[in-house]
Symmetry: C2
Subunit: 403 residues, 2 copies
């Protein structure tokens, strides 16, 4: 038998299995109420709509829907997505759009075209684990910028960019999740987005905007994506997904990028998987084209808003006074901080009490965030949200010696 470990690439040693995925295995017992995952509620899937559309797709264009497609993605779907992006203030055509096998694949392709080993990437502290994982697989070096209640700290970011410029170093991109941040639940206000674009221009750097939850707002005014503030100037790549507005099982996302970048992404995708599932793409196209998406988003928002409210009220009721949390205006997560508590150790006790979350340090590459935790409210039922927070409150109180 071949001794494999000596054959593995350098990157393998640096790749960790997602801590969340490993933790999730522990939390799959039915008696455990899990706030650990990042799954949409299964009740949020328009199963009947998908069924109706699928039958039509197979009846009317089965032989093309089951065939290979172009690497860029289905042109009619890309046109629908371009329309949608323009409504969000992003000026683009379908030629700026690549359909991907979920948004995670876009993170992989971006890494593939931009990153050599030890290239610099800026991420917020904390950040989406799938982003860190994708960039890490291409051996990026990370620069962390603190995340505040209004998103990435732009003063610190600007200071860091100034420093890098002095040192003659160049960033590959800044990874941002401006709207309903995963894991932290916070949103960057419009004025910060404007300033961020100014910073991008001043320092001539790219931002990679990850926006899986942008359409799931439960309170406050809509804010356009960061890319909408860029006026076609080419400083932002935008990533969207069908996972939260249709269904993750179809594995469909999209990237919006200047054509030169898009062209490289297409080249990279050819050798990565040839093309995204044509079948899934036809379903998504019909879902948009028939105008079914907006009413479905309203349905999801109603469902998740109610769960969020229950979670926020329950935290008010059951959590120790010292614990603080984010009031997310949308998305699927809130973020709680329990001063002095090691949340990674506490999760064992929490699971004993039949409740689970992900400890904050899992979302950071700098060892920080040890007293924080991510709480998902989209997946559990309303009753589970209430009961789970009650259990977690007990665990926290015991740990913190309060009552």
């Amino acid at each position: 038998m071949v001794e494999f470990s000596s054959l593995f690439s350098g990157r393998i040693a640096e790749m960790r299995r997602s801590e969340i995925r490993e933790l999730l295995k522990l939390t799959q017992k039915p008696e455990i109420i899990s706030f650990a995952g990042g799954l949409p509620s299964p009740e949020a899937f328009p199963i009947d709509v998908v069924k109706e559309i699928t039958i039509d797709v197979l009846d009317e264009k089965g032989s093309v829907a089951l065939q290979y497609g172009t690497t860029e993605g289905l042109a009619p779907l890309r046109k629908e997505l371009a329309k949608r992006m323009n409504k969000l203030g992003v000026k683009c055509t379908h030629e700026n759009i690549l359909v991907t096998h979920g948004c995670q694949q876009a993170l992989d392709l971006i890494s593939k075209i931009f990153l050599d080993a030890h290239d610099l990437v800026v991420c917020s502290l904390p950040s989406y684990l799938g982003g860190i994982g994708a960039f890490g697989a291409f051996q990026a070096d990370f620069i962390g910028i603190p995340l505040e209640s209004d998103g990435m700290n732009l003063d610190v970011l600007e200071g860091k960019l100034k420093e890098l410029r002095k040192e003659g170093k160049r960033l590959k991109f800044i990874y941002v999740l401006p709207t309903f941040h995963n894991p932290a639940g916070v949103t960057m206000p419009a004025e910060n987005r404007k300033r961020m674009i100014e910073i991008l221009k001043e320092y001539d750097v790219l931002a990679l905007e990850d926006d899986p939850y942008g359409e799931l707002r439960y309170e406050g005014d809509h804010i356009d994506p960061l890319m909408a503030y860029d006026n076609e100037d080419g400083h932002v790549i935008y990533l969207g997904t069908f996972s939260k507005i249709l269904a993750p099982g179809l594995r469909l996302g999209w990237a919006v990028a200047p054509t030169e970048i898009l062209d490289s992404l297409v080249t990279a995708k050819q050798s990565t998987d040839l093309c995204t599932s044509t079948f899934s793409q036809y379903i998504a196209y019909e879902y948009l084209h028939r105008g079914l998406v907006n009413s479905h988003i309203e349905k999801i928002k109603k469902m998740y808003r109610s769960k969020r409210n229950i979670m926020l009220e329950a935290m008010e009721t059951y959590f120790p006074e010292e614990v603080e949390w984010v009031r997310p205006e949308g998305g699927m997560f809130t973020w709680a901080t329990a001063p002095g508590v090691d949340t990674k150790e506490l999760v064992i006790k929490a699971i004993e009490q039949k409740v689970a979350y992900v400890h904050g340090a899992a979302f950071r590459f700098d060892g920080g965030g040890r007293d924080s935790m991510r709480l998902n409210f989209s997946y559990p039922t309303e009753e589970e949200v209430e009961e789970g927070i009650k259990r977690l409150g007990r665990v926290l109180k015991e740990e913190m010696g309060t009552s």
Copy 2:
């Protein structure tokens, strides 16, 4: 606007867009008969079966079929695949199987876990372009071994391995397509497979066996995959796909590998796309579980066998005497050699005469194969196969000055 080209990774310069994909764009006019693509016939898709299964899947388990799945793939599907592999003589369990977004993704993941820049990979001359593309994207250095009528030349391979051992260099893997080779149509006999395994053991190297067409045999006796000759010894990774036995639009393939390698592939896949489409996987599972695959394969074989026969007979009738070609026992391609002809230049003239193919040099990284061409017989209709070969015969005769 950011000056992007200075930001791109080193690999980007080395990545070429697939020549075939670019050529295919030229051949999509309906009046052109194209032998250039590598597509299954749309008549070969079991549309009604997919429809029936999809309705059941959505009715019975819609909420899980539309949800995220595990990175490894759907356990029941992996179990069905393990059963199928065991019938082909490959001893494995579902724990050796990873479901991928098409076989191309497996090529990408294998590259990700094994290849650092300038690592050595052996490929046959010619080789499947998607393999070369995937390894090239991770900046592999290629060693070419001539392909004969009985597959990779094992004498040359052994000589090369001896040489590398002397130089203290280590191969990452040998990429082989033993059955109905794409592009060359040839098959490695059983005794060569045995010898190849001995070579792998002697030199302690891995082989990556790509087997998209193995089940599509039109004449001669079945030969088990190379992996079946390995007796669980861990010298072979096997790649299979649903693209040719169900439909490519679902984007489903699988890898069979020793668990240590599989574990690394799963880690790599997490950051690549989280998981393969659950929806597609449930459809494929039911397709196998309900026992629909074998009768469908018989149907496809009948269809393709007939097209192959028509192509072989038409070449006999219309091609100049000097032209030679492979009689493929299965698969989707034959390979013709026209001594003295530059097939890359000739393709322009062929397209003017409304027939297309892919020139042989496109499948090689060493500049060779300039007088050869790949001809696909699965996609065109029987009438098109006959008429296209007639046209191509005229073009060849004119070029070669024969009549």
